[in-house]
C-alpha cells in the first residue's frame, strides 16, 4: 500500500512543518517504533520497516530536527529514543491533542487497511475523534452505535475503527 498524501482536515493542518509527522505515515511509523522500542538503531528500523536505509536516515534526521527524537547514546551505532509528545492544537472551537497514540494511529495505516480507508474518508480530524471514542469504548463508557449516531457514520464503520484503534489505547 502506498503512503498517500493526506487530505488535510482543517484543524490538524494548522501545525506547520513540525507536524509533518502527521502527514507522513512512514515517519509516524518510525517515531512509534522507537517509542515502543527505546534505544533503537537505524538498522533495526530498516529491517522492521523494510525501507531503504537512506530514507530512514533522512526521516530520523527530520524527526530529530523537529524535536520528536533524540540520540540516546554517544557511541556508534547511534541509538534513538522518542519523546513523549503532548501537544495541543486549537483552531477556533476545535481542539486536538497530538499524542504518541495519535501518531501511532496514523502509523498503523501502513499495515491496517481499515485505518487507511477511515483516514481517507474522514481525515485526520476524524481519526483523532475516533481515538477519543476508542478510549471511552475500552473504558465501557460508550457503544459503537452511540459513536455512529453522534458522528453521523454507520454503526459498522464505527465498529471497524473502534476495533482497529483498540490496540493503540490498550498498549
Amino acid at each position: 500500500m502506498a503512503t498517500r498524501e493526506l487530505n488535510w482536515e482543517p484543524t490538524l493542518d494548522t501545525g506547520g512543518e513540525a507536524f509533518d509527522i502527521l502527514g507522513n505515515a512512514r515517519k509516524a511509523w518510525i517515531y512509534t517504533y522507537i517509542h515502543h522500542h527505546p534505544a533503537t538503531t537505524i538498522q533495526e528500523i530498516v529491517s522492521a520497516l523494510e525501507l531503504p536505509e537512506r530514507t530512514v536516515y533522512d526521516y530520523v534526521d527530520d524527526l530529530e530536527a523537529a524535536g520528536f527524537l533524540d540520540q540516546s547514546n554517544e557511541g556508534r551505532p547511534a541509538q534513538y529514543e522518542a519523546h513523549d509528545l503532548h501537544l495541543e492544537l486549537v483552531d477556533g472551537d476545535a481542539k486536538r491533542h497530538i499524542t504518541p497514540a495519535l501518531i501511532e494511529a496514523i502509523a498503523r495505516r501502513l499495515r491496517d487497511d481499515d485505518i487507511d480507508v477511515y483516514i481517507d474518508r474522514h481525515g485526520l480530524d476524524g481519526l483523532a475523534v475516533a481515538l477519543e471514542y476508542t478510549r471511552e469504548y475500552v473504558d465501557g463508557a460508550v457503544t459503537h452505535q452511540i459513536m455512529a449516531r453522534e458522528q453521523d457514520i454507520t454503526p459498522m464503520e464505527a465498529g471497524v475503527i473502534l476495533d482497529a484503534l483498540r490496540p493503540v489505547v490498550d498498549g
Partner: protein
Amino acid sequence: MDGDEAVFIDSSVLISCGRRESTRFQALAREATQRDTVFRIPPAVYAEVTDDPAVGAYMATGSPVDAAVQEGWMTVTDSPSYANSDVSAVMDQTRSFIANASNRSEDLVEKADTQIVGLALECLLTDTADSVTVVTNDIPLGDATASLIPQYGFDTQQVTWCTGGDFAAELDADFVSEFE
C-alpha cells in the same frame, strides 16, 4: 432442551471478526463446532453487518456473516416477542442502562440495539435454553445483560456475557505485531 446454552453474538464482535480477511472468523467457527452449537444473531445485528453502505469500503468480499449462515454455524433469529411484557420491559431497561452507563441521552440508544438482551431473556423464559451467553465488545450492553436478566427470576449463573477476546483468544490478536 434442558442444559443447553444459547450463545448470542453481537454486531460489535461480528464486525471485529469480519474486518480484513483474518483468522478471527475461523476461530468463531471453531468455537461453534467445539461447543456443538449454532450461534444466534438478532435480525437487527444481521441488518447492521450486511446492509451497511460502508460494507463495500471495508470488506472487499462482502460480509462473511452470510457465509457463516450458509455453512450452518450461525443463524439469524426471529425478532424478539415484543408482545411479551417481560421481553419488552428488559429491552427498555437495557436502553436506559446503556444511556446511563455512557452518560448520554436515551435518544442515542435505539430499541434495536437492545434486541440481543430481549432475545436472551426470551430464551430463558420459553425454556429454549437453560443458560445464555452474550458475546459483545460493547461493555455497556454486556453489563446490561448480566445485571438485568437475573431480575426476571433467573440465577446469575444462567447469564454470562463476555467480549470476543474472552470468548476466543484469537479475536483479541493485534494485526500489527511490531508495536506490541
